[in-house]
């Protein structure tokens, strides 16, 4: 519901940055979505979902706190002279040590919560998050609060996963993923207290009290529209030859 103010260098920082709310307005300044407006001033943190391209690295968890813009919690993690923010998994505490490794041994690795391994190194039945689609690209799948994916089986060269939408996806075994479930799992089960809480968090109501009624209001009974027209394959004349 807005955009952040990225630093002019383009480099990664752990400092909080300004978050500009859109108010439902487009680039031209006109209202495109009237159900957005208001909300508290929040700061935006740069979250790193890329995996380092080294053999093995150890990192230590320094701080854990909720993220005002996203549903998952943030964990500050440091190694050497570099600090970064990552997605926090369910049972994370200050002082834990996390390892990432890019190797695929012949025997599958014992999965420890928080560590990152390629998909070919993990045994069947592990729960993972922050999964890459193409190796070296960065985490794309399962980043929201409470989500997780399950490794089902191997299919030849590829590894099959079950996503939170119950689709199955086949991926390269070199793609990286972290073990565990994302934090803040019950965030969608908490109902809103009322209109006041919604309005103060940035949502505006759907309609007012009295409006002129036109042909658009009311129950809609319309035929389904034909959406996709697949081009049919060309028809060939078929002859049945009988041997004489």
């Amino acid at each position: 519901m807005g955009r952040p103010e990225t630093p002019p260098d383009g480099k990664y920082t752990t400092e909080p940055l300004r978050f500009i709310r859109s108010g439902g307005r487009d680039l031209n300044g006109k209202v495109v979505n009237a159900k957005i407006g208001g909300g508290p001033k929040v700061s935006w943190f740069m979250r790193d979902s890329n995996y380092p391209e080294v053999g093995e690295r150890d990192e230590k968890v320094l701080r854990v706190h909720p993220d005002p813009v996203r549903t998952a919690h943030l964990a500050l993690v440091g190694s050497g002279n570099h600090k970064r923010y990552i997605i926090a998994h369910q049972n994370v505490k200050e002082g834990d040590v996390i390892t990432t490794s890019c190797q695929i041994p012949p025997i599958p690795v014992r999965a420890v919560e928080g560590n990152a391994h390629p998909l070919g190194a993990l045994p069947i039945g592990t729960i993972v998050h922050n999964i890459e689609k193409i190796p070296g690209e960065g985490g794309r799948i399962c980043k929201a609060g409470g989500s997780s994916a399950l490794i089902l089986r191997t299919l030849g060269d590829k590894v099959v996963l079950r996503l939170p939408s119950k689709h199955e996806m086949a991926l390269d075994p070199k793609c990286m993923a972290t073990v565990g479930q994302v934090s803040n799992s019950g965030h969608d089960a908490i109902p809103w207290k009322g209109v006041g809480e919604k309005m103060s968090s940035g949502y505006r109501p759907r309609t007012g009290w009295r409006h002129r009624k036109t042909g658009y209001h009311g129950r809609k009974i319309k035929p389904k529209r034909t959406f996709i027209v697949k081009p049919t394959p060309p028809k060939y004349e078929t002859f049945k030859l009988s041997g004489v």
Partner: protein, 429 residues
Amino acid sequence: MRITRQLFVSRKSRIKLLLDNLTYKDLPLNAPALSDVDIVKVNERKKHEEKQQSLPPELADDPRFYVPLKHEERKNYRQVPAFLYNNKCRFIEGTKQACVLTKSLRFDGLPENVQQLVDKFEVPNESRLVQKAILKSQLWDSAKELLPRRKDPEYPNFKFNREYGIPLEKKLNMLSFDFFRIAETAVAAKYPQTTKTRRMIFNPSGMATFFKYNESLLSFYVGINAVITSRSMLSPFVPEEQVESKSSGSIPSIYPISPTIDFFKTHNYNLKNSIGFSEISSKFPHTLILLNDNDWSEDERQARALVTAMGVLLAQAKKTFPGIKARLPAPMAVQVVNVSETALNFTYFQLNTVDFDNTEDNVKNFVWFDTNNVLFDKLMPQPWKGDEFKRTRIESLDLDGFKKLLATVGYCADLEESLTQFHDKLIEL
């Protein structure tokens, strides 16, 4: 749902996408040979075409098209990078990280030489003078400036009204300099020659050092609020004969992190080694005074005190023993007092070696921490609780911290008195 222009446009592009990615499901019997078709394996995503670079602006100084300078073009560029430290570096692991950086063993409490001086300096009407100093800084000052917004962790959604009052910086200045004025008069009543040898300098400038730590250059620019100097060096807390026997403990490790994680890495820097007050007769630091005008925890404030003490002593050691790389022939010591709004913190640091890389060594530096000596309780208003909690309350005075302050200011005062008498007698002869 109202169909808006954005949704209509996105619908069109989705149809286009679907039509582009269609495939045949049923192949015909007489299909053409597949050898003509190239199979493309997806290894990388399509990269967006780079937009053409816009033309340069007509005016060279147009601020709308400003591009910041690169690192090589700014001044003081060096190829070897350095890590910079200043007052605003906040150590993420606190005193543990600072101890690893300075290779120092940690002790809690006061050192023995200073513990013996508690209750030896008398101040008439001590509690009345301390209460006066507290109320001067908190209540009687006539400053009216807009204070920052308040947030209470017990009730985060409560909105306080904006208030006008005394800013934090002024409160700390009033409190600390009243305390040190009382302490210096008490010490001077017992040892009157210290008024000639000692000086108090406000905001000394130009304190800087540099050294190598694990093949990386560190550069310190240290900021101090005030300092008490004396004509002779402080006698160390542990004499030289007992240094090796007492440095038998081990320093804890912070394995995946290096202690320079909070420093600022640059290629543009200046190296400098100087103490700001070396051109006067009383040129040895006795106590450093730091005012905590921030919202850090007490642990982080003590870590800052340790690192500033180390920086000051390093600059002095490089001048008195030029070209030194390991153990000092004579150890050096300094005291630091940390003043926050309601409490006092003390650190006592002794420098024995300059070799900070080697953690398994016979000789280490020593540090004593004494944190959170609370003088009074300040309870801010919480109007949702009732009428009793509407105003700020200042309660329960505790004078232990003030007595420790008298002991730190009066350390080595008797030595200075005897030295000046010796010096005066020589002049007479």
